[in-house]
C-alpha cells in the first residue's frame, strides 16, 4: 500500500510499504477514505517529538471502511464505515472505566519509555512516535485499528460526507474538550490563543457551550478572518499590546478562561518579544524542549480564579513559565490529550442536528501522493493553509 512515511526533520515521503495485518483479536483493518494532517503532525515534521524512526507511517486523523475483522470484534462489521479516534483505548482499565480514554493503561506497548519521560504512560496513539506505542498511522491506504469495538464510531448514513465527520477523530473533540474544561458560565469571555484548526474548533465549541464572548488571538490574517467570520473577536497580536487589549476588552478583569491552542512551537509575539527569541535559542541549544509563549500569555492574561486550558501539545520541559502568577491568581490549569471516545457520539449528534459543520476549517484537499508538499505548505502557513485533507487513491 501507499503511505506517508517520516524520514527525518521536514522529510516525509509517500512510499510503498507492507499492508497492515490483524495482530490481536480485537483489531480491524480499515481502508482509509479520508485522512488529514493535524497541527500536531507538524511537531513530528519539525523533528520535535523523540523516538520517531525512519519509515514510520504518520497520521492520526482518518476514517474509512472496515475490510477485515479480528475474531473477538463484536460490534464492528465488515464493510462498515467508521471514524477512528486518534487515541487507542482498551475500554477495560481503571481509566477507560472513568472515561479518561486518552490515559488508557493497556494500549501503549512501549509504556516503559513514556514512564521514564513522564512518570506514567498515556494511551497509545496512531502514528505518533514509538514512545506513544509505535502504531502505524492513518495517512495511508490501509490501517490496523486495535480495540475496534471500543474506538470506532460507525457512520451508518452514507449521505453524510467524510469531511463533515472526519474531524471527530481529533480536532473537533480536542477543541470541544478544551472549551468544556473552561467550565463556561453565563457571561463568560473565553480567550483562545492560536487560530489553527484546534483553536478555531475551541472557539466554535466555546460558542456552542454558551460563552458570551470569544476572543481569538493569532497573527495569520486568513485564520483571524475565519475566526471573525464565525463571530469571534479576532486580535492580531502584532498590532496591539496583547495583555492591555485583553484587559481593555474585559473591562479590567481579564478573560474568564484562556485556551492555549498553540503548544510547544509558539513563535513568540514578534520581534519585540524577547521571550520568543529566548525560547528559540534555548531550544536550538537543546536546553529546552518546548516554546511556551502562548502558555505564558494565557496565564498572565487570565482573570483571577480563572481557568487555563491547554489542548496545545507539550512534550517536555518548559522554561520561564510564570507559575507564581498562576499561584497568586488562584488559576486552575487543565490539559491533556483528548478523551476522544467520550465526545464521539455527542459531537456526532451535534453535527447531524446541524449545530456545527467542522469542515469549515478545510482549505486544502489533495491526493495522498501530494502529502509532502501539503506538509510543507501547512508548516509554512502558505497559500492560506489552515487544514489539509488527504485522499488515498
Amino acid at each position: 500500500m501507499r503511505a506517508v512515511c517520516w524520514y527525518g526533520r521536514e522529510d516525509v515521503r509517500v512510499e510503498t510499504v507492507p499492508d497492515p495485518a490483524l495482530v490481536n483479536p480485537h483489531d480491524v483493518i480499515v481502508r482509509v477514505t479520508s485522512t488529514a494532517i493535524c497541527g500536531s503532525d507538524l511537531h513530528l515534521y519539525g523533528g520535535f517529538i523523540p523516538t520517531m524512526r525512519r519509515g514510520d507511517v504518520l497520521g492520526h486523523e482518518f476514517m474509512g471502511r472496515v475490510v477485515e475483522v479480528g475474531r473477538d470484534v463484536k460490534k464492528i462489521a465488515l464493510g462498515q464505515r467508521v471514524v477512528v479516534p486518534f487515541t487507542i483505548a482498551c475500554g477495560s482499565c481503571f481509566f477507560c472505566h472513568r472515561e479518561l480514554w486518552s490515559l488508557c493503561d493497556n494500549t501503549n506497548p512501549n509504556a516503559a519509555i513514556a514512564e521514564a519521560a513522564y512518570g506514567s504512560s498515556p494511551s497509545g496513539l496512531f502514528g505518533y512516535s514509538h514512545m506513544m506505542g509505535g502504531y502505524a498511522g492513518g495517512q495511508a491506504e490501509y490501517v490496523r485499528v486495535p480495540f475496534a469495538d471500543v474506538g470506532c464510531l460507525p457512520i451508518e448514513d452514507d449521505a453524510i460526507p467524510d469531511e463533515k465527520v472526519l474531524f471527530l477523530t481529533d480536532i473537533f473533540p480536542t477543541g470541544y474538550m478544551a472549551a468544556e474544561l473552561c467550565e463556561i458560565g453565563e457571561g463568560d469571555t473565553i480567550a483562545v490563543f492560536g487560530a489553527g484548526p484546534v483553536g478555531l474548533m475551541a472557539a466554535a465549541s466555546a460558542q456552542l457551550l454558551g460563552a458570551h464572548r470569544v476572543i481569538v488571538i493569532d497573527d495569520v490574517p486568513e485564520r483571524l478572518a475565519m475566526a471573525r467570520a464565525r463571530g469571534a473577536v479576532a486580535i492580531d497580536h502584532r498590532s496591539v499590546h496583547l495583555l492591555d487589549t485583553l484587559k481593555d476588552i474585559t473591562a479590567g478583569r481579564g478573560p474568564d478562561a484562556c485556551i492555549d491552542a498553540v503548544g510547544m512551537e509558539a513563535h513568540g509575539l514578534g520581534r519585540a518579544d524577547i521571550t520568543g527569541i529566548y525560547d528559540k535559542a534555548k531550544q536550538a541549544l537543546r536546553l529546552e524542549t518546548d516554546r511556551p509563549t502562548a502558555l505564558r500569555y494565557a496565564i498572565m492574561a487570565c482573570r483571577k480564579g480563572g481557568v487555563v486550558s491547554a489542548p496545545g501539545v507539550y512534550g517536555g520541559l518548559l522554561d520561564k513559565v510564570p507559575f507564581g502568577a498562576a499561584f497568586q491568581k488562584g488559576l486552575t490549569m487543565r490539559m491533556g490529550q483528548t478523551h476522544v471516545h467520550r465526545y464521539l457520539r455527542p459531537l456526532f449528534d451535534r453535527i447531524t442536528r446541524g449545530e456545527i459543520d467542522p469542515s469549515f476549517v478545510i482549505t486544502h484537499r489533495v491526493p495522498l501522493e501530494r502529502a509532502p508538499t501539503a506538509y510543507a505548505t501547512f508548516q509554512r502557513k502558505e497559500d492560506g493553509c489552515v487544514k489539509v485533507v488527504l485522499t488515498p487513491s
Binding site: M1, A3, C5, E15, T16, V17, P18, D19, P20, A21, V23, N24, P25, H26, R53, R54, G55, D56, V57, D72, C90, G91, S92, C93, F94, H97, D105, N106, T107, N108, P109, N110, A111, A112, E115, G124, G127, H130, G133, G134, Y135, A136, G137, A140, R144, P146, F147
Partner: protein
C-alpha cells in the same frame, strides 16, 4: 586533573574491575531484590482464579516472574540457546487465599524466587498486585554487572512484564504495535 579526566579515569577503572571480575570467574554470589507493584482493575477473586488456572498462569504472573530470566538474553548476559533449564513450583503461600508464591531456578547460574501478593484495592478499585523477586547470581556474566545496574534492569523488565500481564487480564490481549509497517523499518528497495 580536570573533571573530565577524573570521570574518564573512573570509567576506565570500573571497566577494568568488571573485566577482572569476569576473568576471576566464580566469586561470592550476588543477590539482588526487586519489587514492583501494579493495580489490576479486576476483583481479587478473578485474578486468583486466573492464577490458579495452570493454563493461564503461563500468560500472567508466570510471565511476570520469568522476566527475571529475560535478563539473560540482554546483551551482557547472553547464554547459549537450549541451555535453559527452567523449573517452576507453584504453591499457595501461608494458606491465605490472597497469596501466591512462585519459585524457579535457572540452571545454577541464577536462582530466582518470587512472591506475589494480591490485596483488594481501596473502594473496589481492583486488586493490588505486589511482586517481589529475589535473584541470586552464583556464577557467569551476571556477576560482572554492578549491583545497581542489575537491580535497575531487573526492575525495568519486571515492570514491563507486569504491564503485559495487566493488559492481558484487563483487556484480553497484549498491546502490540508491529503490523508490518510503521514499525520503524525502512521499506525494502
Amino acid at each position: 586533573m580536570t573533571p573530565w579526566q577524573e570521570t574518564a579515569n573512573a570509567l576506565r577503572d570500573a571497566a577494568w574491575r568488571a573485566r577482572r571480575r569476569l576473568e576471576r570467574g566464580p566469586t561470592r554470589p550476588r543477590l539482588v531484590h526487586v519489587r514492583r507493584a501494579v493495580t489490576i482493575d479486576r476483583p481479587l477473586t478473578e485474578i486468583r482464579d486466573h492464577l490458579r488456572d495452570p493454563a493461564t498462569l503461563d500468560a500472567a504472573l508466570h510471565h511476570a516472574h520469568s522476566s527475571a530470566f529475560e535478563l539473560v538474553p540482554a546483551a551482557p548476559l547472553r547464554v547459549a540457546p537450549g541451555s535453559v533449564a527452567l523449573e517452576w513450583t507453584t504453591e499457595s503461600g501461608d494458606g491465605t487465599p490472597d497469596r501466591v508464591e512462585l519459585e524457579a531456578r535457572y540452571e545454577a547460574a541464577v536462582e530466582v524466587s518470587g512472591t506475589t501478593r494480591l490485596t483488594p484495592a481501596p473502594a473496589g478499585r481492583g486488586t493490588e498486585v505486589r511482586v517481589d523477586v529475589r535473584i541470586v547470581a552464583r556464577r557467569g556474566r551476571l556477576l560482572a554487572l554492578p549491583r545497581a545496574a542489575l537491580e535497575k534492569l531487573a526492575s525495568y523488565r519486571l515492570g514491563v512484564e507486569l504491564g503485559r500481564a495487566k493488559q492481558l487480564l484487563e483487556s484480553g490481549e497484549i498491546a502490540t504495535a508491529s503490523t508490518g509497517s510503521g514499525d520503524g523499518k525502512e521499506p525494502e528497495a
